[in-house]
């Protein structure tokens, strides 16, 4: 069995960033699963929990909001291969602004922003298939 540790590290990073408890990836016969259970309840009086200190993972995510795919389809960052991408990391976006296209049944469905913020991350590669609910962008609301 050959392990790709770098891939695993990337997945762990994703787990942290997204503040998930579990990631499972299945491709054909391969499967990777990562899990982090929430820390158990603290003993109340002995070790007083500090409510001012949030968990490391969630701290990183403060302010992050995800744009998810409303369709199954293929994700495109631009109207055509010759056009520029609708948005790039760091761009400020406004409600109604087109972020990407999800193509389904030859229809180009434009996905618009619903909030104001900044593109913190683009989570899917151009031209890749996406399922319903897949995360496409992480938006930071300043």
């Amino acid at each position: 069995m050959k392990l790709n540790l770098d891939q695993l590290r990337e997945l762990i990073q994703l787990l942290d960033e997204a503040n998930l408890t579990e990631i499972e990836v299945k491709q054909n016969d391969d499967r990777i699963r990562l899990r982090r259970d929430p820390a158990p309840a603290q003993a109340p009086s002995a070790v007083a929990a500090d409510p001012a200190q949030p968990a490391a993972a969630s701290a990183e995510q403060a302010g992050g909001i995800f744009v998810t795919s409303p369709f199954v389809g293929t994700f495109y960052r631009a109207s055509s291969p010759d056009d520029d991408s609708f948005v790039e990391v760091g761009d400020r976006i406004a409600p109604g602004q087109v972020l990407c296209i999800v193509e389904a049944m030859k229809l180009m469905n434009e996905i618009e922003a619903e909030i104001e913020g900044e593109i913190a991350e683009i989570l899917v590669e151009n031209g890749k298939p996406v399922e319903y609910g897949d995360r496409l962008f992480r938006i930071e609301i300043a």
């Binding site: 369709f71 199954v72 389809g73 193509e103 389904a104 049944m105 319903y132 609910g133």
Partner: protein, 444 residues
């Protein structure tokens, strides 16, 4: 041969299709709603695509999402299962337009048989015995006239209905006057079609249906009948094959009649012709279901065939492949539909399955889309498992079903297993004195 089939369904029938595909060496794509992420069909398919939220209108009935899932996975065919989009001609057409083979009959066939008034006329023209009935009633007064002419009691039926939906038994004129408008609105809301017509009421009928298979090479096979008389509010709960109510002569006559009729329409794929049988043994056409049915396994067991594998072969353009040219039923099979519902109130009982132990051993088949530890979602059909048995005679099969029900343990949710046990233990069932009124008459 197909390389990859997308199954546009969930639950036991999705599993059923996945199994026949895998046995054929065909890869499978499951589509699922968000709540079905851990469902068995999602877990056992080669690939799984989330197509929408829990609400079936936005997932399992969402044509663009399903077609898109087929496109991104490179599937070359779609099996619709039963329910959901299985009888939707637009879905079949869309599949064809997108270069996906729809595993089922043509959209035209679906349209012919889908409208109950048209299907009655078609059946009549094909020489199938039909029940006395009327044309569509244009308004209330016309309805009263038509019902009187037919003679009360009558059954008021919606053109767009079927499978027991959109039906009202009307005993007399004043009852008709009080329900007609409501039935019309109901039909419009449920089927998008407010046409209503009347048929004669058959008292204490049996439900008898014939399984057919047709292929592109002009072959039509009538694969015996099923008796699905044990129903609750027109929903089948126990089915068996063959029906003890048919004489060999009647079976043989019906087989020829149906075969000729289906050859005439050029029917392709699996389908079922449903009939009601009156107490004198006369059969009259009820409806034709152009799809695989829930109760198909009882036919598979007595005939020794795999109907879903045949559907796939037929869609691939191959001829039907039967183990023998003139198949006769071998032994007797019974199916119990195990639903997640209260056995007395019939209220749905979704929730986490804490224990799941199905019967096993000789002559026992289990088709189920659930597993221990999984949570039955509240959004869909309550069917959690089909328990199907096969024995040399009806008495053997009945005894086998009793012991199988006795050893089946499903914990965490309520199921209708206690009701099945009571029915199977009832002398009227044992003696085969069954009709669609069984549950009302015997309240087992």
């Amino acid at each position: 041969m197909f390389k990859k089939v997308l199954i546009a369904n969930r639950g036991e029938i999705a599993l059923r299709v996945i199994r026949s595909c895998h046995e054929r060496g065909v890869r499978t794509v499951a589509v699922h709603s968000e709540i079905d992420t851990e469902a068995l069909h999602t877990r056992l398919a080669d690939e799984a695509i989330c197509i929408g939220p829990d609400d079936p209108r936005r997932s399992y009935l969402n044509i663009p999402a399903i077609i898109a899932a087929a496109e991104i996975t490179g599937a070359d065919a779609v099996h619709p299962g039963y329910g959901f989009l299985s009888e939707n001609p637009e879905f079949a057409e869309t599949c064809a337009q997108c270069g996906l083979k729809f595993i089922g009959p043509t959209p035209e066939q679906m349209r012919h048989w889908g409208d109950k008034v048209k299907s009655r006329a078609l059946a009549k023209s094909l020489g199938l015995p039909i029940l006395q009935g009327t044309e569509v009633a244009t308004n209330l007064e016309d309805a009263v006239d038509k019902a009187k002419a037919l003679g009360f009691p009558v059954v008021l039926k919606a053109s767009g209905g079927g499978g027991g939906r959109g039906m009202h038994v009307i005993q007399a004129e004043d009852q008709l006057r009080s329900v007609f408008q409501a039935a019309r609105s109901e039909a419009r809301a449920a089927f998008g079609n407010d046409e209503l017509y009347f048929e004669t009421l058959i008292e204490r009928p049996r439900h008898v249906e014939f399984q057919i298979l047709g292929d592109d090479h002009g072959n039509i096979h009538v694969l015996g009948e099923r008796d699905c008389s044990i129903q609750r509010r027109h929903q089948k709960i126990i089915e068996e094959a063959p029906s003890i109510a048919l004489s060999d002569e009647l079976r043989s006559d019906m087989t020829s009649t149906i075969r000729r009729a289906m050859k005439e329409t050029g029917y392709v794929s699996a389908g079922t012709l449903e009939f009601l049988m009156d107490e004198q043994g006369n059969l009259t056409f009820l409806e034709m279901n152009p799809r695989i049915q829930v109760e198909h396994p009882v036919t598979e067991l007595v005939m020794g065939i795999d109907l879903v594998a045949e559907q796939i072969r037929i869609a691939e353009g191959l001829p039907i492949e039967l183990p023998a040219p003139n198949l006769a039923p071998r032994g007797h099979a019974i199916e119990c539909r195990i639903n997640a519902e209260d056995p007395d109130t019939f209220a749905p009982s979704p929730g986490k399955i804490t224990e799941f132990h199905m019967a096993g051993g000789t002559g026992v088949r289990v088709d189920s889309g659930v597993y221990g530890g999984w949570r039955v979602p509240p959004n869909y059909d309550p069917l959690v498992a089909k328990l199907i048995v096969h024995g040399p005679t009806r008495a053997h099969a009945t005894a086998k079903m009793r012991r199988s029900l006795a050893e089946t343990i499903i914990g965490g949710i309520r199921t209708n297993i206690p009701l099945h046990r009571r029915i199977l233990a009832h002398p009227a069932f044992e003696e085969g004195r069954i009709s669609t009124c069984f549950l009302d008459e015997f309240s087992p």
